[in-house]
Symmetry: C2
Subunit: 146 residues, 2 copies
Amino acid sequence: MHISTKCSVAIHCLIFILEYGDTQKVTSDLLSLSTGINPATIRKILSSLKKDGIIFVKFGTGGTTLNCPPNEITLYRICKAIEPDFASKLIGLHPFPSPLCPIGKNIHDVLDCSYQKISNDLCESLKNITLENIISDYHHIQHNPD
Amino acid sequence: MHISTKCSVAIHCLIFILEYGDTQKVTSDLLSLSTGINPATIRKILSSLKKDGIIFVKFGTGGTTLNCPPNEITLYRICKAIEPDFASKLIGLHPFPSPLCPIGKNIHDVLDCSYQKISNDLCESLKNITLENIISDYHHIQHNPD
DNA sequence: AATGGTGTAAAATTTAAAATTACAGGAGGG
DNA sequence: CCCTCCTGTAATTTTAAATTTTACACCATT
């Protein structure tokens, strides 16, 4: 039904890891301070990214590092990791159309035809943007404040 | 932050109007029965479509008709009519990143770069689908049940 | 064994969406 | 001309979803 803020938080975390991972131990508390998001939520997000192989989280002692090059991490991959069926929930369906009406009976199938296409297009669009692109935007903005 | 179910309801209504508008007076109560959505909500949706010139609603006596050919009614137009800034709310932003962190301070601008592109792509995708296409899907499904 | 982490689940809170209720006002038929 | 059926719209309540909070078991390193 929508792409949650968790996706934005995930990107924020990934930038942080990339920028500061070398010099600091990146913990959920630290990321919580930077993002303004609860540490428990951060850990849940990191856990999803970890399962997908995007990052590596050191258990016990703590600390997080990237697990693959930024140009292989697409927005699609991030969204998918955070919310596996985000694409099919893009547009909400009304839950109880009347089965007695020819249109109500078929509306979900009809909408699926179009929503499927839109969902595919969106996925392609998300695949075109990588963490590398985003990092480059970040550096650009950071050095050209206005 | 997401495309609401109202968009799906709007499409449902438009199909209904196109299919039954000639033979019946299409009122908000009738659409409510078919969609399973409250008449007041239906009226709000129809009101938005009307403002955009997509349909014509007869005040007083009631009844709704299309106001332009189905091939000119794109999904983009419908979404825009229902929720003017749907495109910029596609992906949620975390509201309170720390202004003390270089990343937190810039994250919204950074994300906007990418989200803008995705938003544009989505709009293009939505412009590619018209009510005519959807009606054709409906007829196809209706005559080939499975 | 003490410290500072992660992983994760349950409960509470917050927020957003939708339904409900209510009513003023118009058009047309009897 | 008034009665009925309808629209437009605002205020309130309800419901549902997302997020936070709390809590605690478990792990690695010092």
